[in-house]
Amino acid sequence: MSAGADAGAGVDDGLAGFDTTIHAPIRLRVCALLDAAGEAEFGLVQKQLGLSASVLSKHVTVLMDAGYVEQRKAVRDTRQRVWLRLTARGRDAYRGHLAALRAIVGPSDPPAAP
């Protein structure tokens, strides 16, 4: 994955994990939710992130095609529910991406103003 930033050459090592597939805002949020929750139902992800089913489905498909997310189908109240979770590869990619973002922000970043 190609990566670089205008934050300076000193952070190049930290940027190795930058992942353009994950960095898209909705996919980044999906990954953050799945990383924190372990596994989450499609409808819950949709509700938590305020997305339509079609938009979420589109982004989940991208993450699944990249091998970052897998789904499990389960029946509840006679209706089929889809549960999503990060794969080991997806978890590594997400955490690597967070490390890259932190490298860009920099270690001496002052606290954000209120």
Partner: protein
Amino acid sequence: METNGVHGDGHGIRLTQEQARSALADTEQVRASAAALSATPWPTWFFVTLTLYTAALPIMCGGMLAESDWLLPGPAWMGVMLAATAVYGVLSAVASKGWRERTGVALRYDVLPKRATVPLAIGLPVVLVGSALAFRSTGKPAWLIAASLAGVAASVGFHLTFVRLHRKTT
């Protein structure tokens, strides 16, 4: 097409510190809301079940391990223990399934910090079984009552911690 501040030029990525900070803040917000869901407490009926089972465990162990019959014959204590554990197992499975369906997230056992859960995971079984052994050697049921109260305190403490965590993050 959304970009989240990424401008590809075919060779690299340009992302400002502010954009990276904003993306990190975004993930932290999502993580906090997911953590609140993971900290959803058990329903009251299962909290009561869990507390009663924890309270009964040292008494049942004490009855099983007693040198002579105490309140019930030894084999009867064994039967009570097996029946209670089987009922608890079934109710636990029902509660776990209901919890997952209600919250929409996986049931996790690492929501609380390890410095709180590891000592309890080791200490509580030691207290529960140790009290039965102390009762066997001394014949004093106070050991069992003390262990039972310790179990109740741990169960109530954990429940209240989850209630507080859930409220704090929602």
